[in-house]
């Protein structure tokens, strides 16, 4: 059987972290009472006009720069028309002709063989990033034959990140999206929490034989976590391969991922091909951005965005942070990967290192094995850890000074998890876990044990 080459391209919508919406002043907030964050413009009241939110543009520029894109100094807004209950104006304002950023790349790491012992770096090309409006939410109530519409989300700013189809499987897709998520969170341009709908991923999947043209692709939607992303992509690849090997054909359709069943199913709602009748948005002039060179002399700073200024102020991206951790603390790349992968873990580690005598190379083991496994077992985030960096640091210092054995240390840690306020030193004293150094004392104890044995 000829081998199959899967091709995966992702379209990611990241909700911009901002106080107000992309084109109106209403607030952006998750889980507010229905229709409580809707301005006249969001409700598409006739006569209202869009006004561009500066913060959203800055977020898109930051993200574009972090993804090595060229920022278009002139970009345009367009209307994309379709009728749906959650789209009050009957069109979405997006950037179809000239988006704000193009031609970037995203590097991400994969572990080979799932062992975390060998990591390889891969790259996926970013086709473009565009600014667009989010839609409202509609809930279909079939029992009462009605649709409930909540417009709180209508008009919230989105960055659509379009990736080239450089990925080949679920694992790559998951790793790439995870890295993107970390980048967005580091920049602060999006909180990127998938569970709250701040990061949505659609996967385009197709398969073909090497040397032949790309196969027909399907679009997979309704993926609610990174774990499900990997599952959905792998399932769809498998489904397509089986279908084709059985002599069937792949339809160019949209499918939904059913997380309960772990498979993709055709979506009834979406029709075949829609003509969106794109038209330039006449109420928004072209978006002009400047850099240090092109910035006009007497421009009001409130009215312009300077790309170079933003570039200078970008925080360290995850990849840079990882390198710095490796360099500064002598830990392995895999270690720094895990440190950044858990929210707050890197800070925790650094805090412990600051406050303990134990060397970072040894501390890392305690963090990644003991602490992390406890957190996972109890489904806790780093922030929720009953063991604070100070407590762990004290414990590790005791170990380092050889006042206790490593077995004893693990016992103390178990006690610390109870979170009852005792310090490591208190626990050690209580449970008499101190290492004895005094030769005579040791001899006495051993002798006492031997004596007891003889008496029985």
């Amino acid at each position: 059987l000829a081998p199959w080459v899967p091709v995966v391209g992702l379209e990611i919508h990241a909700q911009i972290s901002s106080n107000s919406k992309l084109f109106s002043g209403s607030q952006v907030q998750f889980a507010a009472p229905p229709n409580s964050l809707v301005s006249f413009f969001d409700a598409s009241l006739p006569g209202t006009l869009p006004v561009l939110n500066r913060r959203c543009v800055e977020a898109a520029v930051m993200t574009g720069l972090a993804l090595n894109c060229s920022i278009n100094k002139k970009s345009l807004f367009d209307r994309k028309h379709y009728f749906y209950a959650d789209l009050p104006a009957g069109y979405q304002i997006t950037q179809q002709r000239v988006p704000i950023a193009v031609n970037g790349s995203l590097s991400y790491s994969l572990c080979i063989d799932n062992k975390m012992s060998q990591m390889v770096t891969k790259t996926v090309r970013i086709k473009q990033i565009q600014l667009e409006q989010d839609s409202g939410k509609s809930l279909h109530d079939d029992t009462r034959s009605q649709t409930l519409v909540d417009l709180n989300r209508a008009g919230v700013g989105l960055m659509e990140v379009v990736m080239e189809p450089d990925l080949c499987c679920g694992e790559e897709a998951a790793a790439a999206v995870r890295e993107l998520q970390l980048i967005l969170q580091t920049l602060g341009s999006s909180q990127a929490v998938m569970a709250e709908g701040q990061l949505r991923v659609d996967a385009n999947v197709s398969v073909h034989h090497p040397g032949e043209p790309y196969g027909v692709r399907t679009e997979v939607k309704n993926i609610n976590s990174i774990r499900f992303l990997a599952k959905a992509v792998d399932y769809e690849i498998q489904r397509q391969i089986e279908e084709l090997e059985n002599g069937g054909t792949i339809l160019n359709e949209t499918r939904a991922f059913d997380s309960k069943l772990g498979c993709t199913v055709p979506m009834r709602d979406k029709e075949g091909k829609q003509d969106y009748r794109f038209m330039p948005e006449p109420n928004l002039p072209p978006l002009i951005l400047y850099d240090a060179k092109s910035l006009p002399a007497n421009m009001n700073h409130q009215q312009v965005i300077n790309i170079d200024w933003i570039h200078e102020r970008l925080p360290d991206l995850p990849s840079v942070r990882r390198e710095k951790l490796v360099e500064q603390y002598g830990i392995l790349p895999e270690h720094s990967f895990t440190l950044l992968n858990e929210d707050g873990l890197a800070e925790f580690f650094e805090n412990v290192v600051k406050q303990t005598q134990m060397k970072p190379k040894k501390v890392i083991g305690w963090i990644l094995q003991d602490l992390l496994s406890y957190l996972k077992q109890h489904s806790l985030t780093v922030k929720e850890s009953p063991v604070s960096p100070v407590l762990l640091a004290d414990l590790l210092s005791l170990l380092e000074k050889k006042e206790i054995s490593s077995t004893a240390a693990k016992q103390v840690l178990a006690e610390l998890w109870k979170g009852d306020g005792r310090t490591p030193l208190e626990i050690v004293k209580e449970q008499k876990l101190q290492l004895l150094e005094d030769q005579n004392e040791l001899e006495q104890i051993c002798q006492a044990v031997i004596d007891r044995q003889e008496n029985e």
Partner: protein, 517 residues
């Protein structure tokens, strides 16, 4: 002049308001108003009166009764666009221009009638019925009209106002208000101004905020100003122009309101006469009036030159494509979900949308939506929409070239003929009429230029004929100065309406054109 009267206490704002309101009642047969906001108007008048008593009027417009076309949002007062789709719609906000007028103390009498969603050139296609031109009932028209032989119909053969801002034009023309807001997308303020014998100003695109003006074509719409004299138009312009952060298409530059100088020497002026505006269908009468006007300038020492705007003849087709495309887009929001008419059909969301839109829109609107969607289809976009945009650029460039060659202002007719009788007008459909009537006014919208209709003379039938001046971008002061000079020269007669005579002794009839400034 009435502002002076108010200041001097010769008349009070409430008196003025009441007179206008009762005149509105007596001229109800004109059907110029859709909604008369009697209570709120009187309250506003009272508030104004208080200010005058204290000697603290807000400005020239304080206490002046005005009317607003019913496609501008007015908080608490119904805004219908003369459509079933918005019947009963009470907007929660004021359009920026409405707010500005109210902030100046103007008294909002009501909302005026129009063609549905401003689509039309007759003000005959709204759900509240057609607007009648006040001149139909003027002595001047009645004297000239042939009496109907044995008609039971005592009604004269009434003529249309033109459109789509016919209600506003009729309101100003019949003295029921001192100024009115219209809108102008292809001529909708200038056309009815010409037919009703009033001044109709289309400002430069981007000078006045469109926030709150229910859009027809976002890239061409402007709020229009209708008044009885050019000075009044300048005053209203002064209170409305300027950047609005709520409208991203308004220019940022600071606008300074101006007073119009009394031009005496026109020798430094260059007037351009575009030959393409000698359009097919132009009545010989209007041609004559236009020529006389050109001579008037020449004899006064101005330089009058023939110029060419070669792409004029493509403007109708170009406008049709761009207008319908934007209309299709702008009307997409009317689905019955959030506001406005909602059909009882509830089998599915889609069927509800379809029924709502069929019930809510008249066939003119639906026709334009269908055309527009056709032009926006992927396979047609390049051929039609993009092409039309390119042609639009050419049309705009024609004007740039002409103004660069030294011409200050262009002089053209505003309409092809005087106002048609309603029964004649409706023989052709809306689309045909619009295509014919817009030819002289529409290019200014394509190019975003300021233009103004100045009532010039009466036709043989005793009906108003106006001429149009087109100026340079953002050069309203120059444009209006020339218009004012011309207005002074032609001394357009005042309408002689029974109802107006009955209602008023002092204020309306005192001055020639009963202006407010």
């Amino acid at each position: 002049q009435v502002a002076v009267a108010l200041k001097e206490g010769r008349v009070t704002p409430t008196e003025l308001c009441q007179r206008c309101l009762s005149l509105i009642k007596s001229t109800k047969f004109l059907n110029a108003y859709i909604t008369v906001a009697e209570e709120t108007a009187l309250k506003q008048a009272e508030a104004s009166e208080e200010r005058y008593k204290k000697g603290q009027p807000l400005g020239v417009l304080d206490g002046i009764p005005i009317a607003v076309k019913d496609n501008f949002n007015t908080a608490g007062i119904e805004t219908t666009c003369a459509s079933n789709m918005l019947r009963g719609y009470i907007s929660p906000y004021n359009a920026t221009v409405v707010q500005k007028l109210l902030d100046q103390g103007a008294v909002l009498l009501g909302k005026t009638n129009l063609d549905e969603f401003a689509m039309g050139s007759g003000s005959t296609d709204g759900v509240f019925g057609p607007v009648r031109n006040p001149w139909s009932y003027s002595r001047q028209y009645k004297e000239k009209s042939v009496p109907k032989s044995h008609s039971e119909d005592k009604e004269p053969d009434w003529v249309i106002t033109g459109g789509s801002s016919g209600g506003s034009a009729a309101a100003v023309s019949s003295f029921t208000c001192f100024a009115a807001l219209g809108s102008d997308t292809g001529g909708s303020t200038r056309n009815p101004a010409a037919h009703c014998g009033v001044v109709g100003l289309k400002p430069t695109y981007g000078l006045i905020s469109r926030h709150g003006l229910i859009p027809l074509v976002n890239s061409m719409d402007v709020p229009g100003i209708l008044t009885r004299c050019v000075d009044d138009a300048a005053v209203v312009l002064g209170s409305l122009a300027g950047h609005d952060p709520k409208d991203s298409t308004t220019i940022q530059d600071n606008f300074k309101p101006f007073e119009l100088p009394n031009l005496t020497d026109v020798s430094k002026l260059s007037i351009g006469i575009p030959k393409e505006y000698h359009a097919p269908g132009l009545s010989s009468e209007i041609l004559t009036i236009w020529s006389k006007a050109a001579d008037l300038f020449q004899n006064a020492g101005a330089k009058v030159v023939e110029v060419s705007l070669p792409h004029t003849r493509y403007s109708i087709v170009c406008y049709h494509v761009l207008c319908t495309a934007e209309v299709a887009s702008n009307m997409a929001r009317f689905d019955g979900l959030e506001y406005g008419h909602r059909s009882n059909m509830n089998e599915s969301t889609e069927s509800m949308y379809a029924a709502t839109r069929r019930e809510g829109f008249n066939d003119v609107v639906r026709g334009r939506i269908l055309s527009g969607n056709y032009f926006l289809l992927k396979q047609n976009y390049e051929k039609y929409f993009i092409k039309a945009q390119k042609v639009r650029r050419l049309i705009a460039n024609d004007f740039v070239k002409v103004f660069r060659s030294g011409v200050d202002v262009l002089l053209t007719p505003t309409t092809l003929s005087d106002a048609a009788p309603y029964m004649e007008f409706i023989k052709e459909d809306n689309r045909t009429r619009s295509a014919q009537d817009d030819i002289l006014t529409q290019a200014a919208n394509m190019a975003g230029l300021p233009a103004i209709n100045v009532p010039t003379a009466l036709s043989e039938r005793g009906l108003p004929v106006g001429l149009q001046f087109i100026g340079r971008s953002f050069q309203e002061k120059q444009l209006l100065t020339v218009a004012k000079w011309f207005e002074k020269q032609v001394q357009f007669p005042m309408i002689q309406l029974e109802e107006v005579k009955r209602h008023d002794h002092g204020v309306f009839q005192h001055q020639k054109s009963a202006s407010f400034s």
